[in-house]
């Protein structure tokens, strides 16, 4: 079971690289915001997997809820800032 979780975790870490490419070189700001949001979602799943590996899922679920919330608010704030720039 732990090996399975490690496999999923490393797979997600590998997928983050593709999204990171879009975040660094992506044309335009909106691609970058979407990329950061996607990386945040992947980090959230990674946190949960880490929780299951350490057998302390209830603790990591708390952290990942906060991470999801701050990711949402951050994306919204960036979008609002760009709207105000116009």
């Amino acid at each position: 079971m732990v090996n399975f979780l490690y496999g999923i975790g490393f797979g997600l870490c590998f997928l983050v690289l593709f999204v990171l490419y879009r975040g660094i070189f992506g044309p335009g700001v909106f691609n970058r915001i979407a990329a950061i949001s996607a990386i945040g979602t992947k980090t959230l799943v990674l946190l949960l997997i880490m929780g299951f590996i350490y057998n302390r899922a209830e603790m990591f679920i708390d952290i990942s809820i906060v991470y999801a919330l701050l990711n949402f608010v951050g994306t919204l704030a960036a979008a609002k800032y760009l709207e105000m720039e116009k």
């Binding site: 603790m59 708390d62 952290i63 906060v66 919330l69 701050l70 919204l76 609002k80």
Partner: protein, 160 residues
């Protein structure tokens, strides 16, 4: 100046989420000794809920709900709770924040008195952090001649 959002999805999601975010923040403050969290983290989440309200509903509506004066009252009350518990311990012949001395006042044994007073201190820290977060966000998102710009912006939206 942040104006009222015209997107109904964002506003509805924020309106549904904000009470649950605040409930979760209270959980983080109260449950800080069993799980990650505590006063500071819970205060940041509580502040994030109010910042979400400000981002989605604009300055004017957020100011109606929670004005800058109320925010400054909140951070004074938070510091007052923290320092008050600390000074109360000095009053009962202990050191600053020496919670065990409050056992007689609360009429519980020493371990329970420590637990309860730490919870009180955490509530104070949470209130202060929440108020300071919201206050900083109010101040950085409001330019100097904000009032005039806001009125023009609202007028242009209503004309549209």
């Amino acid at each position: 100046m942040i104006s009222n959002s015209t997107d109904i999805i964002i506003k509805t999601v924020a309106r549904i989420f904000i009470p649950f975010i605040q409930l979760y923040a209270l959980y983080v403050i109260m449950h800080g000794h069993h799980s990650p969290g505590g006063g500071f983290q819970g205060g940041v989440i509580l502040g994030a809920s109010l910042i979400l309200l400000l981002i989605t509903h604009g300055h004017r509506q957020a100011m109606e709900r929670i004005s800058e004066k109320l925010i400054s009252n909140f951070f004074s009350i938070g510091v007052l709770i923290y320092a008050g518990i600390g000074l109360l311990c000095i009053f009962f012949l202990g050191n600053f924040l020496d919670y065990g001395k409050l056992a007689n006042l609360l009429q519980v044994d020493i371990a329970n008195a420590r637990s309860l007073s730490i919870l009180g201190v955490e509530i104070g820290v949470g209130l202060t952090v929440m108020a300071v977060m919201v206050s900083i966000f109010y101040n950085i998102s409001k330019p100097a001649q904000s009032r005039k710009n806001e009125e023009n912006h609202d007028k242009s939206i209503s004309e549209r």
